[in-house]
Every structure is written in C-alpha cells, then in structure tokens.
C-alpha cells in the first residue's frame, strides 16, 4: 500500500506567541516548529498499516515554508520512507485551498492508495486541507477517524467516535482520512533514527514549479487580515473556607456583589 501522510509544522506547545510586525500573522521569528500531535497520530497510523501490510511505503509530504523540512525529518525519524517538501509562495500563504491545490498537483506524480492527515492542523484547526485534496483528486474522504485497519483484499476498516457512539466504517481505496489525535499513543523516534533522519534526502518541489502547474489557480484566495492574542484574563479569586456552607455563602456573595451575575 502506498501511504501518503500530509503534515504541517506547528509552533511547539511551549512557544510564547506574538504577532508578526505587519500584524497579520503569528511571528515565526525564533519560534520552533514541530510535528503537530494530530499529524503524529497520522504518521503512527501510517506506520501501523505499513507494519500490517507487507510491501507498504510511507511518504510524508508538507506544503509551506522551509520549516517544513524539520517536520518532514521528524516523520522520517519515526519511520517514513520518503519525504517531499512542496514550497509555498515566498510571501507566505494562509489559504488552505491553495495548500490543497499544491498538494493535489504534487500527488499527480506521487503514487498513493491512501492519504492520511490529522483531522485538522494543530495550530489553526481549520480542518480543510485533507478533505479539499481528496475533492480535487476525486476520491472519498473521512474525518475524525481512529483505528484504521486493512479489510478484505483491498479495502480499509476504521472507526469514528461520535457523541452518540462509535461508528464502524469500511471503504475501498484510494481514499483520504483525517485522524483524531493521541488515540494510538504515537511512538517516540529513537536516537539513531533521529541522527539518520538528519542525513535523509528530502525531495523539493519549488514554488515556481508549483505555480506553473497551478496556472491561474496559483494565487491565494484568502488572506489573513489580523492576528492578535486573546486579551489577558483577569486573575482568579480563591475562596478560603472552613465548611462547604461557608464556601457557598462566600461564593454567592461574590457572584452577587462583585461579579453581579444576579441581583
């Protein structure tokens, strides 16, 4: 099975976020970008399928600026067999449809039976790209999926947890699947594999090539206008008490007199 995993580098979780000088985006200066948790689960799913289906290959692909290289190397260290970086326009892009078009265009020359990705990106959580790539390629797509397994001679079975219960699905290939985070306890890359991944080749499709292939579709159709951080929250107030009754009494008084939620 040829498995393609679509990944996106996102700021590591301990990053202190700030707006870029033009106020339109997150300032990436000095920020470390890593493989998002959702994408880690997607890579893990790809590796589990590869281990289950002899002869399978895992190919990680990322669209974006040069920092994609680090996320792709992380995927190689985990066990991906190949990696391709699709370069974004030099001025950057916030348009998920442009990302989907660029990825779909690259997939015209990359073999795939199954496209995997996180159900949404770990940073903007838009959740558009995997479905849009599938639409452009004319293959079915499924979101919020867990536990993908081979089923029958050439199909897949998977689950989709919902509020009402767990749905069981089967599908034929090719298809695209967006995965839930952390349900499969993604493996940790071993030190020798990390060292090897530093030397692994990463194929690059540069932006002029992408732009040429996309023709009139190569300009972004949406642009981020403003990026600002949420207003800082005011401090919490701790209630000191001896008995639950005293705590309740103090809480009601604060709600009435200070928060003024009821008269």
């Amino acid at each position: 099975m040829e498995i393609v995993v679509l990944i996106k580098p996102v700021p590591e979780s301990e990053t202190r976020l700030r707006a870029s000088p033009d106020g339109r985006r997150l300032d990436s200066e000095g920020v470390r970008f890593v493989l998002a948790g959702y994408d880690e689960s997607a890579v893990e799913q790809a590796l589990l399928l590869k281990e289950n289906v002899p002869g399978s290959k895992v190919h990680a692909i990322s669209f974006g600026p040069a920092r994609c290289g680090e996320a792709l190397r992380a995927a190689i260290a985990l066990g991906a067999d190949a990696a391709t970086w699709i370069e974004a326009p030099p001025e950057g892009s916030d348009d998920p449809i442009l990302a989907a078009r660029a990825l779909a265009s690259a997939l015209s020359s990359i073999p795939y039976d199954l496209l995997l990705g996180g159900k949404h990106a770990g940073d903007d959580e838009e959740g558009i790209v995997v479905g849009a790539v599938a639409e452009l390629l004319g293959i079915p797509s499924f979101g919020s999926v867990t536990d993908v397994r081979p089923a029958g001679p050439s199909g897949l079975a998977f689950q989709r947890p919902t509020e009402a219960g767990i749905e069981s699905w089967e599908t034929s290939l090719p298809c695209a699947i967006g995965l839930q985070q952390a349900w499969n306890d993604p493996r940790t890359a071993k030190l020798p594999n990390i060292l090897r991944s530093r030397k692994a080749p990463i194929a690059k499709v540069d932006w002029p090539t992408v732009a040429k292939a996309l023709g009139s579709e190569s300009s972004p159709r949406s642009l981020s206008e403003e990026f600002r951080l949420p207003a800082p929250r005011s401090g919490a107030k701790m209630i000191e008490f001896q008995t639950p009754e005293e705590a309740a009494e103090k809480l009601v008084r604060l709600l009435r007199e200070e928060a003024k939620v009821f008269p």
């Binding site: 890593v34 030190l191 060292l195």
Partner: protein, 382 residues
C-alpha cells in the same frame, strides 16, 4: 566569534531527551526517591531509545555522540531526576575505558553484544580505603601463567547490583603506585564476584549503588585493557571524558530548582503581594539564574573543547566543580524560597538538594577537581 546556538540535529536530540525525561522519568521521580526503587522499566526504555550508551561509536551499537551532544541529553534527563540519570549514564563511564584502552578486537568482542541488548555496566575504581587516591588502590591483580587473578573490594559502585559487565582497576605492584595499575574487563557472572547490599543513600535513590568484592576472580590476558602499566592513565583519561556530563547533570538539577522556585515565587503571597515582588526574593532568583547560566556555559565550553580533540582536563574540571557547587547552592536557595514547604518531602525541592550534593562528591570530588584545576592552571605559567 563564539556560537551559542544549537544545530537542528542537536535540538532534535534535546527534544528526545526532554520528552523522555518529562513523560517517563518525572512522573516516577518522587516515588522512586521515596522508596529507593531502581526503575528498571525506565532504564530499559532509555536503552531502547538510544539514550544509554551515548559515547559508544555506532559501529559497536552505541549512539556515537560527541561530548556536547551528550551534555544536552544529560541536562534534560537530570532536570527530571538526577538519580535515574546517574544510572542511565553509568554505562558511558564504565565503557569509556574499553573505548580508550581496548583493541579493535576487544571492542567488538565486549561492546557489540553488550550494546545490542539492554545491559548495565559498572566502573570499578573507588575502594573503601580511598577514591581520589587512585594510584594507591589496594585491589590486587596477580599473574598466573596466561591469566590474572583479581582480589579486593570496590565500593560506591553505581549499578553494581545489576551490572553484567565491570571495568576493574587493580594493581600488579602497589610499590609502583600509578605505574602498577592495570585495567580489566570482567563479566558480571565471573566466579568470585560478590555484590554487596544496595546502599541506603541520601539522594540519587532511584540509582543503585553497592560494593563489589572480587574473590580470586580469574580473567584472561585478552581481558586486560592496554599494557600492564596503562590502567591509571586509562582511568584518568576516562574521567577527563566523563566529568563534563556530570557538569551537565548538575546543571539540569539547578535548572529544575530555579524553575520551581521562580514559579512558586509568582504564586506565593506574603505581606499582600507575590513574594516575587520582594527584593529579597528577586536577589535570590538573580543569583540563582547567574549560577545556572554560568554552569551551563562552562559545561558547554568544556564539551566543545573535548569535541575539538583536546583533553579538556582544565575545562572539564572547572565545569564539573562549578556546576555541582552551583547546583547545591541553587537547590538550597530554592528550598529557602519555598520556606517551610521546601523542607517537606511532599514538595519536590528538597530532593534536588539531596541529589545535587552527590555531584560535588562523585566522579572526582570537588577538592580533587580544584587540585587538578590549579595544577593545569599553574602549568600554563610554569
């Protein structure tokens, strides 16, 4: 110009160590400290991830890292637990004599099978009669045709109760002092190896330490590392390599103490405001961060010197000594900032002080480090 930024490769190694330290080690640090439990499951996992035999070249199944790379990893591990880190890096110390003194045949014979599975090794130099006076060691090696017979007692041996390989230093002729010392590889199941009880220690309680008694242990000639007079030099050159990671270990403990104290100072209120707003606390925090940063930079500099192929004796002595003194001081101040809570075993800071203390003692006491430092310094003027 000096360059203080890390390469992408070094950042990914540090990420691996940080993830392992925070998800596997930290959650069990307090429990293992309290019950003096040797968490073998954690050490096994460290080996699986390649975090154990850091200094062994990849051709023998190790991770083949340089000194700075090792230090980055060790600091991250020690941030979570100094004791576990001691047990994880003890193989680096125990195997270094084989790397320095072993023939290619000895390296393939002893290192390759050792590194291909989870195994622990112990470095056996210190004796009840003295550690720093390595030229005066009492363990005897007696020549018996093609074999040597080893007799004596080693103490404070890290991982001693669990090791499947020992590097042992013994004298063929005590009157020759340092020239009489030879180094040997001894398998853990050699007849005559008697392991003492697990010592009850002040800190590093997740690590295990014991005496190792050698009762007429027979080793063949091809288990001797280098020549009959090379043991002392192998031991000293080993410590030149492994002192610097102890600086990193101490830095990790100090950073943990600083982080805990700084966060606590923002939460804890006295006289109507967070204690971080009192200058008395600010001055403490400023002194602590100075010590942590200086410890890290001295450690990185020593590692950089060694990675450039120089012995780094002066640099590693300064780094180990300074960082370990800093760790104890910073942990002490962290407890002071926590006040009475800091003294309680339910809070994590008092463990840091107990763990920091050992870093002033092992791998060459800080008194010996100062002697080495002064000797190397004066050599430059003489």
């Amino acid at each position: 110009m000096p360059e203080f930024s890390l390469t992408a490769e070094q950042e990914s190694l540090r990420d691996l160590a940080r993830k392992f330290a925070r998800t596997e080690m930290a959650p069990k640090a307090a429990e293992c400290d309290k019950s003096a439990r040797f968490p073998e499951e954690i050490y096994r996992k460290a080996w699986e991830l390649g975090l154990m035999n850091l200094n062994v070249p990849t051709e023998y199944g190790g991770s083949g890292l340089g000194a700075l790379d090792q230090c980055l990893i060790v600091e991250e591990l020690a941030y979570a637990c100094g004791g576990m880190t001691t047990s994880i890096i003890a193989n680096c110390l125990a195997l270094e004599p084989i790397l320095l003194g072993g023939s290619p045949a000895q390296k393939s014979r002893w290192l390759t099978p050792f590194c291909s599975e989870y195994h622990l090794a112990s470095f056996c130099l210190t004796e009840p009669g003295g550690g720093s006076d390595a030229a005066g060691l009492k363990t005897r090696a007696r020549k018996d045709s093609e074999e040597y017979v080893l007799s004596g007692e080693k103490c404070f041996i890290t991982n001693g109760p669990h090791a499947s390989l020992f590097t042992v230093f013994a004298t063929l002729d005590p009157s020759l002092r340092s020239k009489g010392v030879a180094a040997f590889i001894v398998p853990g199941d050699a007849p005559g190896i008697v392991r003492g009880k697990d010592e009850d220690k002040m800190g590093h309680r997740a690590s295990s330490t014991s005496t190792i008694r050698l009762e007429e242990v027979r080793v063949s000639r091809d288990q001797r590392l280098g020549g009959e007079h090379d043991g002392f030099s192998i031991a000293m050159r080993t410590l030149d390599q492994t002192r610097t990671p102890i600086g990193a270990l101490a830095t990790g403990i100090a950073q943990a103490a600083l982080d805990l104290a700084a966060r606590y100072s923002l939460e804890r209120k006295t006289f109507g405001k967070p204690i971080s707003e009192h200058q008395a606390i600010q001055i403490k925090l400023a002194n602590m961060v100075q010590a942590v940063r200086a410890a890290r930079l001295l450690t990185w500099h020593a590692a950089w010197t060694i990675d450039r192929g120089q012995p780094g004796t002066l640099e590693s002595s300064i780094a180990k000594c300074y960082a370990s003194d800093a760790a104890l001081r910073v942990a002490d101040e962290a407890i002071q900032i926590f006040g009475g809570y800091g003294y309680m075993r339910d809070y994590p800071v008092e463990k840091l002080m107990r763990d920091a203390k050992l870093t002033q003692i092992y791998e060459g006491s800080n008194e010996i480090q100062r002697i080495v430092t002064a000797r190397e310094l004066l050599r430059q003027y003489g």
